[in-house]
């Protein structure tokens, strides 16, 4: 009995030990981060606030991708596509029907969840490889598709919207208000994912990642959990797309090319697969790396992320966050 349970039992058995030992520093770090996140927009110039907001936007998408790649061991090269769908759902609702913008979020969530579920069914019944193929093709196919339905999507020109203003009672500037809206969504998504991972479902996902055959033997319904993980993951990418529309107030097909999907994947690999802070670091990578390296050469972002991906897979498969985690684990081991 014990033998067959190992894949799920192992993380569960490890959890209490790390929790007891690391709870304090981790809790402190989390509190510091939260305070910093709340104070930052009042201390920084609007452009920096905008940059932070964008990091949080990408962090949501990377969080979604991590749920699939880092926690369930499946791969998607099409999350840029779900990001685009979320962005377009919000944009079309705002542009066409003047829907109040908070309501665009549930709409974007619903649409991307359903699409993710529908796509997950054919692709996930099979090996992860095919999922990569199908998702990559979909992300590529989406761009001409968006251009085709011009009356709704604005074609290649895209849609230009107006940014939401902060309600008068808050006394916040527009950029600060947007920042807090996005922070709320990012925080909510992180809490939801953390809760999910701590539940029975999270253990099932980990079992699938570690050994599919063993997980199935233990009674984990592979197709069900894989499809659900894919749908949730797509939904988070859609949420990121939706808040992206709030912040940028502009969508066009060419801002969602297959490069975005690959950058998101690069983000989670660099940030750290299957870790708490990985998505945040990954979001920062997705936003800052291209803008900072573009000055060297137009091709520099590609060369840097390509090299980083390969090197990180060799030396630190758990990314930046994993390196920090390993360092603290080594310190703990030495103490004992």
């Amino acid at each position: 009995m014990n033998g067959t349970r190992t894949p799920t039992a192992a993380p569960a058995a490890r959890a209490p030990r790390t929790r007891r030992a690391v709870l304090k520093p981790q809790g402190v770090l989390l509190a510091v981060l939260l305070v910093a996140a709340c104070v930052a927009p009042f201390q920084l110039v609007p452009f920096r606030v905008f940059q932070l907001t964008m990091v949080l936007v990408y962090a949501i998408a990377v969080l979604g991708l991590d749920l699939l790649v880092g926690r369930t061991g499946q791969i998607s090269l099409g999350h840029g596509g779900f990001f685009a769908i979320g962005a377009y759902v919000a944009a079309v609702l705002l542009d066409r029907w003047d829907v109040p913008y908070p309501l665009t979020l549930p709409a974007a969530l619903a649409v991307t969840f359903v699409l993710g579920f529908a796509l997950g069914i054919p692709a996930l019944r099979l090996r992860g490889l095919y999922l990569a193929l199908v998702t990559m093709t979909i992300a590529i196919f989406l761009v001409p598709l968006l251009k085709r339905f011009e009356s709704l999507t604005g074609g290649s020109m895209g849609l230009t919207l107006t940014k939401p203003d902060a309600p008068a009672w808050t006394g916040l500037a527009q950029d600060q208000w947007l920042y807090f809206c996005v922070l709320l969504v990012t925080g909510g998504a992180t809490l939801a994912v953390a809760g999910l991972l701590r539940s029975r479902v999270g253990r099932a996902l980990a079992a699938i990642r570690d050994n599919e055959a063993a997980a199935e033997v233990m009674g984990v319904r592979l197709s069900r959990y894989k499809t659900l993980a894919f749908a949730w993951s797509a939904m988070l990418a859609g949420a990121a797309g939706c808040v992206n529309t709030w912040v940028i107030a502009f969508v066009s097909p060419d801002s969602f090319t297959s490069t975005l999907s690959i950058m998101l994947l690069a983000g989670i690999v660099v940030g750290g697969l299957g870790s708490l802070y990985g998505p945040l670091l990954g979001g920062a990578f997705v936003f800052f790396m291209p803008t900072m390296s573009q000055g060297i050469n137009q091709a520099a972002p590609g060369v840097i992320s390509g090299l980083l991906i390969i090197v990180i897979m060799y030396v630190a498969p758990t990314g930046l966050a994993g390196l920090a985690g390993r360092a603290s684990a080594a310190r703990l081991a030495r103490k004992k």
Binding site: V69, G73, Q74, I75, L77, P122, A123, R125, L126, R127, G128, L129, Y130, A132, L133, V134, M136, T137, I138, I140, F141, P144, L145, K147, R148, N211, A213, A214, V217, S258, I262, L265, A266, V269, N297, Q298, A299, A300, P301, G302, V303, S305, G306, L307, L308, I309, I310, M313, Y314, P317
Partner: protein, 293 residues
């Protein structure tokens, strides 16, 4: 009717190009169980090398031979340097590494040769052969001829040479092959070299049509994936048949289905991939995998 046959021949022409890239994918998959997402980019890089030779005044066919030689060595080097360290790692790791290679090679080509679109010379005459109401471009016929020749050489290599036998042994059972004295590591490198060479052929053939630029092979790769999925990832013959079918389906759908047109043609390989996965996941010529835990 003549128009239909015309479209059919053109479909076969583009199908042959997809077939050669699909063949490169299948070669690597057979030896290493890796689907090389960077295959198209490697082909693009080889095509840029060929372009540089031609720019330097080397005659086309000599430039092609030099390019194939460089690609072969490059493919072997990549296997040694990039893939060997993660050999036997989980599929997820392998996919991510080949994706890293994809980004790296794409950007490196942009860095070296810039992202500007370049003309690539076609080795075949511009004119066409008229048969009945159908005009067959010499370039289409040339593409079909070159791809057929590549298939022939590969078949002969695998069927009649000692190296080919060793390669087949490694593909079917690496452990037993190693025990019988086959240098498995060397064969794997050889497989990557061959795949890079076959891919380079597809790049050189497609470049006069699509124009040469770093993102040239992105679309072709999707078609090649559809071809390999349709034919079965473990069947070289399937890759060829799959490539031709995908090429014809794409051309006919673009020409006769109004809703698809030329802009949404990329939906055809998507539909083929999803359809095959739902109905016959192992592909037409593939063997269904039975997994043992």
């Amino acid at each position: 009717m003549a128009d239909f046959i015309q479209q059919l021949v053109e479909g076969l022409g583009s199908g042959a190009i997809y077939a050669s890239l699909a063949l490169a994918l299948v070669l690597i998959y057979q030896f290493t169980g890796i689907v090389n997402f960077a295959q198209g980019e490697l082909a693009m890089f080889s095509t840029f090398i060929a372009w540089s030779f031609v720019q330097a005044g080397v005659p086309f066919w000599l430039a092609l031979i030099l390019t194939l030689a460089v690609s072969f060595l490059g493919g072997m080097a990549i296997e040694r340097i990039v893939i060997r360290p993660v050999e036997g790692a989980p599929e997820l790791t392998l996919v991510i590494v080949t994706l890293g290679l994809f980004i790296l090679v794409n950007a490196a080509a942009g860095w070296i040769w810039s992202f500007l679109i370049k003309d690539f010379p076609s080795p075949f005459p511009e004119s066409a052969l008229h048969l009945g109401g159908v005009s067959l471009n010499y370039s289409t016929l040339g593409v079909l001829g070159v791809v057929a020749a590549v298939m022939g050489v590969l078949y002969a290599l695998f069927r009649f040479t000692k190296i080919g036998l060793a390669m087949r042994a490694v593909a079917s059972n690496p452990a037993s092959a190693r025990l019988s004295g086959v240098r498995v590591g060397r064969v794997l490198a050889l497989g990557w070299g061959l795949a890079a060479t076959v891919g380079a052929v597809s790049g050189v053939l497609v470049a006069p049509v699509l124009f040469l630029e770093p993102n040239m092979m992105g679309g072709v790769l999707v078609y090649a994936f559809a071809a390999a999925t349709l034919g079965g990832f473990d069947s070289p013959l399937g890759a060829v048949v799959g490539g031709l079918v995908v090429g014809v389906a794409e051309t006919l759908a673009g020409a006769y289905v109004g809703a698809i047109g030329s802009d949404l043609k990329i939906g055809v390989p998507l539909a083929i991939i999803i359809g095959v996965l739902l109905v016959r996941p192992q592909g037409l010529f593939g063997r269904a995998a039975v997994e043992r835990a």
